[in-house]
Every structure is written in structure tokens, then in C-alpha cells.
């Protein structure tokens, strides 16, 4: 099985956002932007906690199944991969985004495509407390 990112110790998060920006740096060739990341980190004030959300790389992934254009396919081991970006460019409905009940699939307005977690493990590499880990599952 290929390695996958996993939320191993969510309570240990200190809110440093290194995961968010490590992702954007990797996916966009050295560019940093909070909107060009396949992860989400919110600071939840009622619980005064940082809540990280990652793409778990689902098997039988809802986002892949929801795409009406067959632009997405499943990666080996689960999770989406983009096989037809041209189809994405004209998509108005963005059913893939809506299908993710974790809310961790995001749309990139510039590329006109979903920001897909490639399960590369960069976010885990820069997590100082093993909130996110990268391992074979």
C-alpha cells in the first residue's frame, strides 16, 4: 500500500500553519498562499482549539464518484486524482467540492480545478508535533 497522511494526534496542534504552507509550497512550486493548500486549519474560539482537516484519501471516494465529467479518478490506495483538467475548467457545478463532507476539497479559482491532495507527505514533514503523520496504512 502507498503511504498516506493521517491525523494522528489532533489535540497536539499549536496552530503554526506549517502544514498549510508546506502543502501550497509543494503543489504550487514554491508559492505560499492559504488558499492554495489542500488542508484546512481553523482556530475554533468556543473550544479555543486549533482544528486541522486533511484529505484522508478515501477509498470509493465521494468526490470522485460525484464528478459528472469523469475528470477525477481514484489514486491507488484511495483519494482523488485529476485525470482530465480540461473538463474541470468548464465545470460550473463543482459537485466534487460539495461531495466532501469533511469540507477539505477546495477550488482553485486561478487554475479552475480542485486542489487535490497528492498524499505526498510534505505537511507531515513540517508538523512539529506529529499531529499529521505520513505512513503506510
Amino acid at each position: 500500500m502507498p503511504a498516506r497522511i493521517r491525523l494522528a494526534n489532533p489535540e497536539r496542534c499549536i496552530g503554526c500553519m506549517n502544514c498549510i504552507f508546506a502543502c501550497s509550497r509543494e503543489l504550487y512550486g514554491g508559492i505560499l498562499s492559504p488558499l492554495k493548500s489542500a488542508l484546512k486549519l481553523v482556530y475554533d474560539t468556543p473550544s479555543r482549539k486549533f482544528i486541522v482537516s486533511i484529505c484522508p484519501g478515501c477509498v470509493d471516494a465521494p468526490c470522485v464518484n460525484a464528478c459528472p465529467h469523469k475528470a477525477l479518478a481514484e489514486q491507488p490506495g484511495g483519494g482523488p486524482t485529476l485525470i482530465n483538467p480540461e473538463k474541470c475548467r468548464s465545470c460550473e457545478t463543482r459537485d466534487c467540492i460539495k461531495a466532501c463532507i469533511l469540507g477539505v476539497l477546495f477550488w482553485d479559482d486561478e487554475r479552475r480545478a480542485p486542489i487535490i491532495c497528492t498524499q505526498c507527505g510534505e505537511c507531515a514533514k513540517y508538523c512539529p508535533h506529529e499531529v499529521i503523520v505520513y505512513r503506510e496504512v
Binding site: I14, C16, R25, Y43, F106, P128
Partner: protein
């Protein structure tokens, strides 16, 4: 340089904003402190009252903010009600990242709003909103009301009641756990009727050399997490200083009467780490998590009814509102820090004031009539909690003067020999020796972090310096730190960001400076600030140094005022002789 030269001007009087491109400033002065000083001096009115709304308030970020680990500060420059001249303060949190992602290098506030105002910035959009619903709320509450679950980098900046009431040492809170603590920025925002700002940035930053950038990021990140360069800040946090300074006899106790605290171990950073510390919080891209947050439960009724509160604590607050007031129970100290933060005071000067009031009360300089019946005794937590509230609300003359700082208090009541302030700012918790006092006095912003005199004294315990070496070290350290504050780095990362690595990092974002050029710019920044202050009458030789500093033994022995004055003369001579050549 990704928007660094774009300066956002906000006119509170006219409720309008505009952007000016100032590439000239970036080329000359890098960013952060360097450009903030220029922007401030372009708009400030020399000799005017600090509350004059024409004096600008500048928040600036630098070229390494948002890109490199532990480079996460924003620098604020303003006219200080405490010093009556140039003021500067730094804060962490998400502000620097938010400002950069919104596409700006600095925000300049001018003018005065006739109604309480909340400024909501989202990338290029600036909205002026009525802040009435936020009035009277603590910054902790404001943060909870304004925080959203956006994916943009969002920062919330606000003042508490002390700022609204224009207490001269009101702080400004950033993202709940960070503060522009020193020199009264909160008073200035309060005097302009500005209760809060929210900045949301969702743009992007592109280094000109992405590969070089990624490699250097990894190298710096590893150095931060894998070496001991920043370990202290991560583990015990700055409260580790309590035991260290107690050991060498530099821990101010009972208003600097003593330099060791008999209960140091009970309130130490290590003890709180074992018992009350709940979690650590970090700034963007910093893996350290230096903000140590303790969890207290305060009983508010019988039947196991508790109010859970989270308190951010650090060494300076623990000295000022702890050892210096002889509070020997960590829970009491944390409650007092929390209360100070609720109202939004600079915890350090507040501690110096409470300590002075306690001593003045003990000596009969102020009476029960002055305190409105409040009995201020060393170590009495209930009295201190009450006193803080009375200062915040201005309940009686003593408390109204106390809200204006120690200089004002002693002008009315006397007792300046033990009023622990220099040039209007409260003295930090390091009675280490000559370099600490001299460094604080000559520092452009009167902060121990400007040139780390306390550190030079501690080195002197192991190896003695000549007078020339001592004053030159203070000058060189401040020049270099001016560069770090132009990036805008966190001082905790100073051992990671050595001059050669700063040069390398600046290359990845398009700056070609060498180490010598940087040192020269650092010196010019000091001279820029010193020039501004001189024109407004500041002369370190005319500043009163509290006698107590020359009575209570420091870590390096009892200090003589005569020797101190000689060192000051030597500093002035060498600092300014070399500048005219």
C-alpha cells in the same frame, strides 16, 4: 517583493483609505522597522502632543514575513504617551502573515474618528464599521466575536477598557495571546476611537528563487526544531528565567528591594510547566510554540461551579506581577496577569506601578484616603486585583494618576527614588548590572530587547569586558537587531538567523545586501530614530535613573552611579563620534 512596497493609508477622520507605492523606502530600508520609522517621520508633528491625531500610527511587516520559520512579528511605530516622543512595540500572532497575504508592506493610520470604529480589511477592501457593539469588551471577548472560520489568514487586533479610557500604558491585543505591550499603543488607538481591526489576507507570496527558498526553509526549520538554539522558548518558555535570574541574584523582588525571591522555586516556569500549563500556541510558520497557556479554574459558586480561564504567561509578566509584588502562589500571579490582560494593560509597567504604590503606602507617602480605603500590602492578591480594576475605571485621584504612568505619579506624590521607570517606561526584570541599565536607557525604544544589555551583563559574569567593549557591544547589538526587526524576525530566533543566513534568505526574495551593508542600515535606523527623539528634546544624560538601582545589589554587585554616568558618557562619545565620520 510581493506587495511589500504597497502602503495602505487609512484616514480615520475622513473614513477613507488609499494605497501608495513606496519602492524607494524598501530599497533604502528593507522593510519592517526601517520603513516604519520613515513612514512615521514623514507624518509626525515634532513637539506635538502624542494624542495629536496627525501623528501617524504605523504597522509594518518585512520581506521575510510569511515565508520563513519564526519570522512572524509586526512592528508598530507611534508617538508614545509615556515617553512623549518616538514609541515602538512588536507583536506576534497572525498579523504579519495576514498583512502580507492581504498584499501590503505597511498600514498607516492617521486622523481621529468621532465615533468608535472597527476597521475590517479583506485584501484590497477596507470597510469602516461602527464599533459600538464592541465597546467595553475585553480583547479576549472581541477576539471571540470577530473570529471567523475563513481559510484566509485572519488577524484580530483590539484594545480593552484601558485603551478605551486612554490609560497611558494600555496594550493592544493581537489574536488573543499576543500583545503590542509597551509604550502605550493602546492609549493612542483609544484616543483615536479605534476599538479593533480585522485583517484577512488570501493572496500569495512568490520568492524569486523558489528552489533556493525551499532548500533554505528546510535548513532553517531543521535548525529550529533539531538544535537547542530555541529550545528554551519551546520547553519552559521565558519563565525559565525565574530560576536562572534568582540563582545569580538578578530577579527583582518587592519593588527591586531585593534581587532574589525566597519563593522562586514555587512560582518557577518549571513548576507551572508541571502543574498548570495546558498548551502551547505558535505564530504562523513557527514550529516553536513559545506562547505558554495555563488553564485555571476559578470557583464562582458553591457546588463545583468553575469558570475555566486560559492565561498566557511569560517571564516579564511573572516578574512584574509576581516576584516584584511578592506573590508567592502561581495561581495568584496568573490571575493577576489575566486581569491585566482583560483590561488591556502593559503588564510590566502595571507591575512597576503596583509595586511603587505598595511601597509608598507602606512608607506613608500615600494614605488610606488616597487609596479609598484599599490596603496595599506585599503579596495580597485581592488588594492587587482590586487596585487594577480601580486604575482601569479611574476610581479616585490616585488611580487616575496611576493610569498615566509612574512619572506622573511621582510628580504628584514624590517617591521617585523607588519608582522603577526610566524615560517613562517600566524597568524590565533583570537587575544584572550596568549594561542592562545603560542598554535600556540608550535603546531607541527603551526595551531590554533592543540591545540585550542584560545578556552582556550575564556574559560579564564569566569574562570581564573593558568599558569600551561593553558600550560597543550594546551599540552593535542594537544595530543588528534593527535589521532583524526590519525583516520582521522574532527575537527568540536570533540565534538561528545569523547574519550570513539573513543575507542568504534576503537573496531568495530579491535583496542583494551583504552583511556590512546590513549593519550600516541598522546603524542608520538607530540614527534616524535618535534624530527624531533629539529634536523633541530627548537626551539620555538628562534622564533620571531611580536611586534604588544603585542601592540593591545586582548580579554583578552593587552598582555606582558615578561609574554608570561614565559609561553613559563613553557610549555617547563612541556612538556619535563614529556616526559623524
Amino acid at each position: 517583493m510581493d506587495g511589500l512596497s504597497r502602503i495602505l493609508y487609512i484616514d480615520l477622520s475622513e473614513k477613507k483609505s488609499w494605497v501608495e507605492d513606496r519602492k524607494d523606502l524598501i530599497e533604502d530600508r528593507i522593510g519592517g522597522l526601517g520603513i516604519a520609522v520613515k513612514l512615521y517621520s514623514e507624518g509626525c508633528k515634532l513637539g506635538s502632543d502624542p494624542m495629536d491625531p496627525e501623528n501617524p500610527v504605523v504597522f509594518a511587516v518585512g520581506p521575510l514575513n510569511g515565508l520563513y520559520p519564526s519570522i512572524s512579528k509586526t512592528v508598530a511605530v507611534f508617538k508614545s504617551p509615556l515617553t512623549g516622543t518616538y514609541g515602538e512595540s512588536h507583536a506576534g500572532g497572525r498579523l504579519a502573515m495576514a498583512v502580507r497575504m492581504a498584499g501590503y508592506g505597511a498600514i498607516v493610520l492617521v486622523g481621529y474618528s468621532d465615533k468608535p470604529i472597527f476597521i475590517d480589511i479583506e485584501n484590497s477592501e477596507v470597510r469602516f464599521r461602527n464599533a459600538k457593539p464592541l465597546l467595553g469588551l475585553s480583547s479576549l471577548e472581541v477576539e471571540e466575536r470577530l473570529r471567523t472560520s475563513t481559510r484566509a489568514v485572519e488577524s484580530i487586533v483590539s484594545i480593552g477598557l484601558a485603551g478605551e479610557r486612554v490609560c497611558f500604558y494600555a496594550s493592544v491585543n493581537v489574536d488573543r495571546y499576543n500583545y503590542f505591550g509597551r509604550l502605550g499603543l493602546g492609549a493612542i488607538l483609544g484616543s483615536r476611537n479605534l476599538k479593533a481591526l480585522r485583517i484577512r489576507g488570501s493572496g500569495s507570496l512568490k520568492p524569486i528563487d523558489p528552489e533556493g527558498y525551499r532548500k533554505l526553509f528546510e535548513k532553517l526549520y531543521k535548525r529550529i526544531v533539531e538544535t537547542d538554539a530555541m529550545a528554551k522558548y519551546h520547553y519552559t518558555g521565558t519563565p525559565a528565567n525565574i530560576m536562572v535570574l534568582n540563582e545569580i541574584g538578578a530577579l527583582p523582588t518587592r519593588n527591586f528591594r531585593e534581587s532574589r525571591f525566597e519563593y522562586a522555586e514555587d512560582i518557577s516556569g518549571e513548576r507551572i510547566g508541571e502543574t498548570l500549563l495546558e498548551r502551547k500556541v505558535s505564530c504562523p510558520l513557527c514550529p516553536i510554540g513559545c506562547m505558554h497557556i495555563a488553564r485555571l479554574r476559578l470557583e464562582f459558586a458553591k457546588g463545583y461551579e468553575y469558570e475555566p480561564i486560559d492565561v498566557y504567561y511569560n517571564y516579564e509578566s511573572m516578574y512584574a506581577l509576581g516576584t516584584n509584588l511578592c506573590l508567592k502562589n502561581p495561581t495568584d500571579i496568573l490571575r493577576l496577569i489575566y486581569t491585566a490582560n482583560l483590561y488591556g494593560f502593559d503588564t510590566m509597567l502595571l507591575g512597576n506601578i503596583l509595586a511603587w504604590m505598595t511601597e509608598a503606602y507602606e512608607l506613608g507617602l500615600i494614605s488610606d484616603r488616597d487609596t479609598n480605603g484599599l490596603k496595599l500590602n506585599w503579596g495580597d492578591i485581592d488588594a492587587y486585583l482590586d487596585a487594577v480594576k480601580r486604575i482601569a475605571y479611574g476610581e479616585g485621584d490616585l488611580y487616575i494618576y496611576a493610569a498615566q504612568g509612574l512619572k506622573q505619579l511621582t510628580d504628584i506624590y514624590g517617591g521617585r527614588d523607588y519608582a522603577m521607570q526610566i524615560a517613562g517606561n517600566g524597568i524590565p526584570g533583570y537587575h544584572t548590572g550596568y549594561a542592562s541599565i545603560l542598554g535600556f536607557l540608550v535603546a531607541s525604544r527603551h526595551s531590554h530587547n533592543s540591545n540585550a544589555g542584560y545578556d552582556i551583563d550575564q556574559q560579564a559574569l564569566k569574562k570581564s569586558f573593558t568599558d569600551e567593549e561593553l558600550v560597543d557591544r550594546i551599540a552593535a547589538e542594537e544595530d543588528w537587531r534593527n535589521i532583524l526587526v526590519s525583516l520582521v524576525a522574532c527575537m527568540f530566533s536570533r540565534r538561528v538567523y545569523t547574519p550570513d543566513l539573513v543575507v542568504e534568505a534576503l537573496r531568495t526574495v530579491g535583496f542583494g545586501y551583504g552583511v556590512d551593508e546590513l549593519m550600516e542600515i541598522g546603524r542608520e535606523i538607530y540614527m534616524d530614530i535618535y534624530g527624531l527623539k533629539s529634536k523633541e528634546g530627548f537626551d539620555p544624560r538628562r534622564i533620571y535613573i531611580p536611586r534604588r538601582l544603585f542601592e540593591t545589589p545586582s548580579a554583578t554587585g552593587v552598582l555606582s552611579e558615578e561609574r554608570f554616568r561614565k559609561l553613559l558618557e563613553l557610549y555617547m562619545e563612541r556612538r556619535f563620534k563614529s556616526s559623524s565620520t
